[in-house]
């Protein structure tokens, strides 16, 4: 399986990037949404302290920034796992039994509606409304890569493969 490897960015790189994003949008409160999008691209989620910084820089109340960040499901306020597993629950996938797949994924990883990310920060399981791949339903996406015609069994072995790949990588680093 092919995994894209992203250079880890240092925290100070990320902070400088946030400053640049805010400047690029002219510190305009009206640009809050594009700013949050760009910040999320940088951090993969929207950390509270960074949102507070954005509010300060735009001179708007942090409660408003929080309101916008929680209104759109696109924005995440919690850090996500290394592998973000998105199960499509749009109409096409739903009628082709996406729910048992979700249940399999969750029980395999000991996750639930409230707890979407494993404590080791490896996996996040979410549902999305439609991935636009209805012809291949039911669909699961892992870090942007689409896996089609899923079944609960296939989903479980997908997780197993990722876990093994991780274990191997860790062993490789240590050995």
């Amino acid at each position: 399986m092919q995994m894209t490897h992203v250079e880890p960015r240092t925290r100070s790189d990320q902070f400088e990037a946030v400053c640049a994003i805010i400047e690029r949008h002219g510190r305009q409160p009206a640009k809050l949404i594009p700013i949050l999008q760009a910040v999320q691209d940088e951090y993969t989620y929207l950390p509270e302290e960074v949102l507070n910084f954005v509010a300060t820089a735009l001179a708007i109340p942090p409660a408003r920034v929080f309101g916008v960040a929680t209104f759109y499901t696109y924005f995440a306020l919690e850090p996500k796992g290394k592998y973000v597993v998105r199960l499509c629950d749009g109409t096409a996938c739903h009628v082709k039994d996406s729910i048992p797949i979700l249940e399999a994924l969750r029980s395999r990883l000991n996750l639930s509606e409230e707890h979407k990310t494993t404590p080791d920060m490896l996996f996040t399981v979410e549902t999305v409304a439609c991935l636009g791949a209805c012809g291949l339903a039911p669909v699961v996406m892992v870090n942007g890569e689409v896996h089609s015609l899923m079944t609960p069994e296939k989903a479980e072995s997908l997780i197993e493969d990722l876990k093994q790949a991780e274990a191997a990588a860790v062993a490789g680093e240590e050995g």
């Binding site: 100070s12 302290e49 960074v50 507070n52 820089a57």
Partner: protein, 669 residues
């Protein structure tokens, strides 16, 4: 002028004047269309869908968001409209936890009243709610999210009137809620405790915090001497809770009620308001004569003080150093009353009765405690007093009025008008004019500072000295003026700021106003109280004179300063973590925190941070130095602030940071 435009409401012609929307017209026609989310002082939200009307040719529309057009024909009371309204109310009730008998808002709840009026007798829907925890973190308010109907009134008051924005809508759909930033508790954010959100909240989702239990407990304790101070605005509003005509004056009955409840002595905050006038007026004249820092802002409103500390730390030297009348009373009481009442200092319990929720916060500020004991032990609102009177079973209207206790019961009219916006300015003028001219002034009333506008100006020339005054209420207005002061363009000497609309008479602790002219009635009543008193200038109060002779020494002197003045400091808006900018958890490294709070941010802390991160990298100090951005180090007046280890560096430059950091590094090794 042409013929007056009209439209037809329920078959009657109604003239269109300056009404902005159909709702105003319908109400002018004497029809009380129900609303939840409409307030004439706020922007129009059109969310509650209760003010629906049927417009011929257009169908059903919300009246609050439809402008009147000549010739429109509308109906307000069809079967269909009644059915829709009932269903809407049912839906609102379905989202509400319905714990009405135990709700503090029960008697004033708009949701309850409308449900009754609209004949809702059952709720067919059930919301799948999980109870949200109560938020009791604020010294002023209690938030019960389970009672929120999402009308957004509080959000708009806080944003539009107060310019704070401490609460806002968050999440969506069935999860939607009104919350402080990041779902924190109200006590951990920038809320200034003004309570106006609670005054506008139609249900009990936001309500003043009650302290009556602690007060009853003190009253029950035979060793305690419990004394009360009554703020000016309370006396013109309490009667409303007992169906007395709006704004009737009730001072004598309040005293009688408090004595019947068990208070040992009852005094008047107007006495210390007189004292405030003398101290603050003297401070003002000194600044004016000696070229001190002007304009001088008033400091008697604690919500404004917290706002200034959070948003204008650079202007804190402009705030009068005078304590508010409530806190002046507190320190004076501790100093003087044990002897007068023949009690041990620790057995004296000082209770304030205030129109205000922010006073609850003020009384617990650390500046106002000595040796761990608060100067003012408990603060109850006018509403809480009404409940205590009801609980005690007293028939308020038939109480025989009693007089206030001396010496702190004696007050002049200047101390009474403090409750109105413009009142402090007028009281100070009554003092200052006499001081400037050196002879007793004939003039008592200064009509130029009275009025209702949220931002008023007045200027008068006394013996060639010009005094320019701005009077504001609502913090959004205060912001406009403070921005001018910051920019150096404010043409004023004195700026009076009250947070609540119209001043303390509309404080959030007052009985819920049931009509649009309550505020005007109360204001008028305070000016009448002034008229009916024998003295109108604070400096004429003989007990104040005596107080200086016996306890305080010279006006503005050392003792007066210790007891009657205070100081302010920059204050962070949110309780929040610093943002780590170095890798790892920082253990064993030198901690460097660069403030990214607003004041420091504006002074260039971001550039400093950038340069510092560059320096750390350039000299490969990543393993030794842990850099974080924090949000306000509460040293705002001297920013940019950088904290290295336990050293706080003010007015920081990169050179300073480098020097101190290098020294720390040398130590560290």
């Amino acid at each position: 002028m042409g013929k007056q435009d009209t439209l037809r409401i329920d078959g009657r012609d109604v003239a269109i004047d300056a009404e902005r929307n159909l709702l105003e017209l319908v109400r002018k026609a004497g029809i009380e269309l129900p609303t939840f989310c409409y307030h004439s002082d706020l922007s129009i939200y059109g969310a509650c869908r209760l003010c629906l009307v049927d417009i011929e040719g257009r169908g059903i529309q919300s009246a609050c968001s439809t402008p009147p057009e000549p010739g429109m024909r509308l109906r307000t009371n069809t079967g269909e409209l009644r059915e829709i309204r009932r269903t809407t109310l049912e839906l609102l009730l379905a989202n509400h936890d319905g714990s009405c008998p135990t709700c503090i808002k029960s008697a004033d709840c708009k949701l309850q009243a409308l449900a009754r009026r609209m004949g809702v007798d059952k709720v067919r829907f059930k919301a799948p709610t999980r109870p949200a925890p109560l938020d009791e973190s604020s010294p002023a308010l209690v938030r019960d999210p389970n009672k929120c109907v999402l009308c957004g009134d509080c959000v708009r008051v806080c944003n539009e009137i107060q310019g704070v924005g401490a609460i806002d809508f968050a999440y969506r759909g069935s999860q939607a809620a009104v919350v402080p930033a990041f779902g924190k508790q109200l006590g951990d954010v920038e809320c200034v405790n003004c309570g106006q959100c609670a005054a506008f909240c139609p249900t009990g989702a936001l309500a003043p915090r009650s302290e009556t239990a602690a007060i009853w407990q003190a009253l029950d304790d035979p060793r305690k001497k419990v004394v009360a101070q009554i703020a000016p605005a309370v006396r013109v509003a309490l009667g409303e809770a007992f169906d007395q005509p709006a704004a009737s004056q009730t001072t004598g009955r309040i005293v009688a009620a408090l004595k019947a409840i068990g208070f040992d002595a009852v005094y008047d905050t107007s006495f210390t308001a007189d004292l405030t006038v003398i101290e603050e007026g003297t401070e003002f004249l000194q600044r004016k004569v000696n070229g001190g820092i002007l304009p001088q802002f008033t400091s008697c409103c604690p919500a404004w003080v917290k706002y200034a500390e959070q948003y204008y730390p650079d202007l804190l030297p402009n705030l009068s150093t005078c304590k508010s009348p409530q806190q002046m009373f507190g320190s004076l009481a501790r100093q003087v009353l044990p002897r007068i009442l023949d009690t041990a200092p620790e057995d004296l319990v000082v209770v304030s009765i205030m129109p205000c929720t922010a006073k609850k916060y003020e009384a617990q500020r650390s500046e106002f405690s000595q040796d761990g004991r608060r100067d003012v032990d408990a603060v109850m609102t006018t509403q809480e007093l009404a409940r205590m009177i009801q609980e005690a079973g007293l028939d308020f209207s038939s109480l025989e009025p009693e007089s206030l206790d001396m010496p702190f019961g004696f007050h002049t009219g200047a101390g009474v008008i403090f409750g109105n916006s413009g009142g402090v300015s007028e009281a100070v003028l009554r003092f200052a004019v006499e001081k400037i001219t050196g002879k007793p002034a004939g003039q008592v009333d200064f009509h130029e500072v009275r009025g209702e506008g949220g931002l008023r100006e007045a200027s008068l020339t006394v013996d060639g000295t010009e005094v320019r005054i701005a009077i504001v209420h609502g913090l959004a207005n205060a912001k406009l003026v403070a921005d001018q002061v910051r920019a150096g363009t404010a043409p004023y000497d004195l700026i009076e700021v009250m947070t609540c609309p119209g001043g303390c008479i509309s404080g959030a602790g007052q009985p819920v106003a049931h009509n649009g002219h309550t505020r005007q009635d109360r204001a008028r009543s305070l000016y009448e109280a002034d008229k009916s008193l024998p003295l109108h200038r604070s400096q004429d109060n003989p007990f104040i004179d005596r107080c200086y002779q016996e306890h305080l020494g010279a006006v503005g002197g050392t003792v007066a300063h210790r007891l009657l003045h205070t100081h302010y400091h920059g204050r962070k808006r949110l309780e929040s973590e610093a943002l780590p900018l170095s890798e790892g958890n920082g253990d064993g490294k030198i901690q460097v925190k660069v403030c990214a709070g607003t004041a420091c941010f504006l002074r260039g802390s971001q550039k400093l941070l950038h340069a510092l991160l560059g320096y750390v990298e350039e000299h490969s100090l990543q393993n030794m130095v842990d850099v974080r951005a924090n949000f306000c180090s509460e040293q705002c007046a001297a920013g940019p602030t950088v904290i290295i280890g336990d050293k706080v560096l003010q007015h920081c430059t990169l050179e300073r940071v480098r020097d101190v950091l290098d020294a720390e590094l040398a130590n560290h090794q």
